[in-house]
Subunit: 191 residues, 2 copies
DNA sequence: ATAATATAGCTAATGCGATTAGCTAAAAGA
DNA sequence: TCTTTTAGCTAATCGCATTAGCTATATTAT
């Protein structure tokens, strides 16, 4: 007793468990067990129970992704930076399938707090886009397209939804290149 | 008693319920209630219980989407057809947020049967791409990119994840156009 | 038409995990 | 040292999924 838990330790353990067993298979009982504690004790740290834990898991996931992305984008610009960010995103998802599932649940928990969750990641993208001399609106389109593609592609990939034997790496790079071309077109004012 | 249920009626009711309350809030109790029956009775139609129901929900969703997409693509070719398909996909999701959630769960249920679920939708896309004279591999890349973008964009949109006031319609059309440009580049053999 | 069989739906019972209530002892502070 | 907080515990409640076994309606065969 008096194990000395805190929210951080709990969330991290839950994140690992999510990656191992899938986020929907996390139970307070299992989690408590893993932490050497009984399940009701977790309410001392998460009064909102399982719901609150899932919310924290989501925030934790986006925060981790933001950190990885920010780190990899340091010292890179333009297409280089975008490539690096996209690859980091994809590899993050492949390493954290369970956590990524939780990250997509910012539906159940809609509020400013949760909209902000993705904000960090989004703002890194915006910052990189500064270098291209686009209008605000154009940047918004690009960021949204990138986010949409990244989330969809990685979700499908991590669920084994792409059946064809063709290389997924090639598809991924092709897609990024296509989006980068879209940026070029905007720069040179193509319709 | 002897209400005369069948799987179809149950799945359709569940689909509506998913769209109203969210797929995670479907309980056999509520569903049975809605159908004028007690929850254990549902096991006579779905021996696998809630799991099997969710699986059927997923299959039903992809099948519905495939139908809508196929119907709208009749008599259209190339960019026209792709635009129409994408818009249909997006509007399907906005009309069926709950069902769409279920459709994304083809992870829990991975098997050939479930990989086939998306197959119908995918093959419509392939068919449309025939007209562009691309290689098999190029078609695979395009289809994957389209699927990734469509799923990600609509998921984020339906969760209210795009916070900016800029028009989402514009972003959507911009993205499709960008992908269509990618097709053109492939045709003319751009690097 | 009648008897035999199958089955949709029901009630009662089980089980499990989330959550709540109330207790206790370790830790922090006056 | 005395008080207060609080992390963790046990016991109890609740709701929902699921199972077991019953019954009456349909269906099929005779």
């Amino acid at each position: 007793m008096k194990v000395g838990l805190d929210r951080k330790k709990i969330v991290e353990t839950a994140a690992n468990m999510a990656d191992e067993k899938g986020v929907s298979n996390i139970t307070l009982k299992l989690l408590a067990n893993e932490l050497g504690v009984k399940s009701p004790s977790l309410y001392k740290h998460f009064s909102g129970g399982l719901d609150e834990l899932n919310k924290e898991l989501m925030l934790y996931g986006w925060c981790s992704l933001e950190n990885e992305i920010t780190r990899v984008a340091v010292g890179k610009a333009k297409d280089d930076a975008i490539f690096a960010i996209c690859h980091t995103y994809r590899s993050f998802v492949s390493k954290h399938k369970g956590l990524f599932e939780a990250m997509q649940w910012y539906n159940m928990y809609q509020s400013k707090e949760h909209l902000q969750a993705t904000q960090g990641t989004v703002s890194v993208l915006f910052q990189v886009l500064e270098a291209y001399g686009l209008t605000e609106e154009q940047k918004v389109h690009i960021v949204r397209m990138l986010r949409g593609f990244l989330q969809g592609f990685t979700a499908i990939e991590s669920h084994g939804g792409y059946g064809n034997p063709t290389s997924l790496d090639d598809t991924f790079d092709f897609a990024i290149k296509t989006i980068l071309n879209g940026i070029s077109d905007l720069q040179r004012g193509a319709k």
